[in-house]
Amino acid sequence: LLPLLLLLLPAAHGEVKHVQYTPFLTKTPVLEGLTTGSTFVLEQPRCIFKDYSNADIWLVVALQKSSFNNSVAPGTAESAFQNFPDSVPAYMTLNATLANYPCPEHDGNITVLRVGSETSCIRDDARPTCNGPLPGPGPYLVKFLALKDSEPVAETDWSQPIMLRTAKSPNSISTTDEGHSAGMIALTTILSILFAILLAGLVAMLVFWGSDACGGSSTFSKPEAVTVRRYNTHHVYDQPAARL
């Protein structure tokens, strides 16, 4: 029905007011996940659309500035997330009203929009306004578009190009070219020298086994046992021969 309506009123829509605001990635607080492989975090457009209290504010995500036409309606195949980027150059998502972006800004809470957080509707064609994960590293351009009765009435500037993170393969991590620490080299050297000296000492010990090379035989000797043989000096056995 909506595309039909737009076809019947080709040039009848009014002027689209240009709001001086450039969407940007959240600056405070510093977020670790500001850009990931498939999501990024935008600051909410608070106090921007204050003149458009009953308009729907949509986020437009595109790969190129020139490719998006404001007359494309949200919730149709021409702006469906599921068809991005193969058959449509941009998609529209994150529908909100002024009530979602109240003034004053920063009332103590974190006011962010996480683009790419819905994973349940990635392939669900019944949900063309899915806030699905972005399919590549980008660079992406976003702007906010306010629609009243399906007619665009206001838009912001296009943002600066937003690049997402690309992940490298873990095979690129090198684990082999680390040197040896000084401690290990010192330890190995000293122990080898000590062991060599001990082996040399053992060889010297065994080669000089029994010789008196060190210290003399009397250095650690036990007390000597002196035995005296008794000599029988009297020739008593010759006398019986003399009696005969």
């Binding site: 670790e32 999501t39 996480r114 393969s169 873990p170 991590i173 330890l187 053992l202």
Partner: protein, 260 residues
Amino acid sequence: MAKSEDCIPILQGLLVFGNVIIGMCGIALTAECIYFVSDPHGLYPLLEATENDGIYAAAWIGIFVGFALFALSILGIIGIIKSNRTLLLVYIILMLITFAFEMASCITAATHRDFLTPNLFLKQMLERYQKAEPANNNDQWMTEGVTKTWDKLMLQNHCCGVLGPSDWQEYTSAFRLTHYDADFPWPRKCCAMDAQGLPVNLDGCKLGVPGYYNSNGCYDAISGPVNTHAWGVAWFGFAILCWTFCVLLGTMFYWSGIEY
């Protein structure tokens, strides 16, 4: 002659004292190595999966060397008091063998410690954490060990990844193959948890809001215990060996002077 007779008890006393110290150090080495082998920090699965568990081999050798040192020191004391050449020769040869084994243990511990760099753990974590399809039983065993150890590490030490949560963003991983980047920029265990073990604020964790996720890397929690283990085995063993070297030299000198 009088001078050398005074020297005998002094040298004997010194050698007996040296052997007593060796015996006590042997027991201490055994106790220390048993402590390390028991893996109080639960890091063994990580080392087993890197196939770089040399520091554990060094600790096992240390257990038996410590025991041998204790037994040999008793033999040495008996040999010195009796001035028996045979006993002392056996003592010296067995001590040299024990010296060689302990030397191997020290060098192994020091060398393998040098292999355990942050890159090694990073690569292993990315390739094995929550890997979905293991190739064989051994692979599955290692994958389970790595996953459980990392979960425990990240929970207990309030850390994420090896260098930080950005490890999961900078590199593709086995984890990334089964978990959408939008739902899991990093594993759930990196989120700040409440008492029930659930994330305090899941959206805050996914966004990376300070306070709702663990922003530190776990490398310090891994390298601390591993360093203590490796240096404890290597340098204590080195100290024991230096002392043993002196005692053995003294014993060799004593042996060569005994009358046979």
